[in-house]
Symmetry: C2
Subunit: 311 residues, 2 copies
């Protein structure tokens, strides 16, 4: 594969605000990848845990600033911190249109929304894991006015920790996660509640297998409720779509469901130019940027075309 | 723990008809537990695989005869085989009332229905695993006319391979598995079909996490369709119950679902007398017989009272 003879520049600094499970994992993963990371958390224990993993604790933020707090805290996460006027700001929240509305108003086109599709039932800095993002898909929002160089900076961060980047608009993201993440939480809750109504015998027979099937429920109902209510419109629409499916004859429904599960394994690798339309088309086709964008020049011309996969 | 000074007798012979994943696993697990097993399958390759695991291949069946074929083949599974007139007959099918109607008419009170709550996406003798049943719950049907000594023979078999026995009637079983197993298959199919309708972007973002969430779909739609249609009444009722749950306000629904998931971890150990009413009460309370019934005397008086757990 030939490489363009472009001069390289060092990667911009990365700052992570909020050092719980997601932020702590990201900071640790970047340190493991040899990247200097500045971090901050209002909790001294979270700061100490991050410092022990090689994160520099500080309040002066520049380069790419990752807001890794819960969504309700995004608005105050930067209070008492100094943020460079040219910093690119991103977040890790599970819903993107409301966050874009709030942070876009504050940071303009310096804001690029993001959402790594990972995380576990656990939370807090003790659950930080530098391998958390490996193989995960990470939505990075590409709106009509997003500055492509800033989008590339955020995408590069995701690739650096082993994730694959899905270029997507905030609205498309929210519709998609309603279907694949938020509705499954509601279905799991409805299934568990209905099984409990069916009586202890049902739960007793389910011991084991049912517990893993309802793992998606997780451990914090307040978090799940905030998530589905924070994406209420798309989640209600996606739930209605599932309910419509459930009215179909079972043989058709089962056959279609299986066909989707089988398709999920297909993929191929192709090259995609780094322009907005081509990147969004890749995401809409089910693909992701999967290879590292290695060179840092004005506007982030990569050493090689972005290699991408589509299912 | 004091033991009753009862004489012991050797366990009755076990015969397994159908040596695919479930039957092959059971035969292998019993051999591993030091029990002589006779097996039969119409497929010479399945017979050879079982023989290589120490199963005696033969057509003369006595003791406990386990029918481990798919439900549609149960009626012809014993064609060309010689079954002792006093043999206890059991099965491993995922629905119990229709099987009881068919095999109860043929074998009378010698038939005791069973259903181990395990199995994977794989099938066939190559998927046999002697550890398949360890820790699984195994429903063993106790109808008003079931002969308790025969029920105990089947229960002992399940305990011998590491399962826990849930005493249950066929009808109660079918209602319970509709709620915990058959409806989840339909929900998973509806979720996958709706996500596919939402477009490739949704499936692309779901890569990985969604695949595990839809694992319940398995690999054989015909098998799933036969399962839900074979338990159509209870499955339709359980599906209606889930749909009713989905009409509730999300915060209530999520809170209730989480409460069920939390409860699933609770358990305690107690002793239960070996009589029909006490055993069925244990099952209805969500419990299972978890300890081996070790002594074999007339009527299977155990060396110690059955130890049982309830969630």
């Amino acid at each position: 594969m030939s490489r363009l003879p472009v001069p390289t520049m060092p990667a911009p600094p990365v700052c992570v605000v909020g050092l719980g499970q997601l932020g702590g994992s990201l900071a640790a993963a970047l340190v493991a990848a040899g990247r200097p990371v500045t971090g901050w958390d209002t909790d001294p224990a979270a700061r100490a845990a991050a410092a022990s993993r090689g994160v520099t604790i500080g309040r002066e933020l520049s380069g790419v600033v990752v807001l890794a707090t819960p969504i309700p805290a995004l608005g105050t996460a930067l209070d008492d911190l100094q943020v460079d006027g040219d910093a690119t700001v991103t977040d890790l929240g599970s819903v993107k249109a409301p966050v874009l509305a709030a942070l876009g108003a504050r940071f303009g086109t310096r804001f690029v929304g993001g959402h790594p599709m990972c995380g576990t039932e656990r939370s807090g800095h003790a659950a930080a894991d530098p391998e958390l993002f490996r193989g995960a898909r990470w939505a990075v929002c590409l709106e009509p006015d997003t500055e492509l160089p800033r989008w590339l900076r955020v995408a590069e961060l995701a690739l650096a920790v082993g994730a694959e980047v899905v270029p997507v608009t905030a609205r498309e993201h929210d519709d998609a996660v309603a279907a694949i993440s938020h509705v499954p939480h509601l279905l799991a809750a409805a299934l568990a509640a209905a099984a409990a109504d069916a009586g202890p015998l049902a739960l007793g027979l389910a011991a084991g297998s049912f517990a893993s099937g309802t793992r998606v429920i997780g451990s914090d109902p307040a978090f799940v409720t905030a998530m589905v209510e924070g994406n209420a419109g798309p989640t209600a629409a996606a739930l209605a779509a599932v309910r419509a499916q459930l009215e179909r004859p079972w043989p058709e429904l089962v056959a279609d469901g299986h066909a989707v599960a089988r398709r999920a394994g297909d993929h191929r690798t192709l090259r995609v130019p780094l322009d907005r339309a081509a990147l969004l088309a890749l995401g809409r086709a089910g693909g992701a940027v999967s290879r590292r964008l290695a060179a840092f020049v004005e506007g982030w011309v990569p050493e090689e075309p972005a290699a991408s996969t589509a299912p």
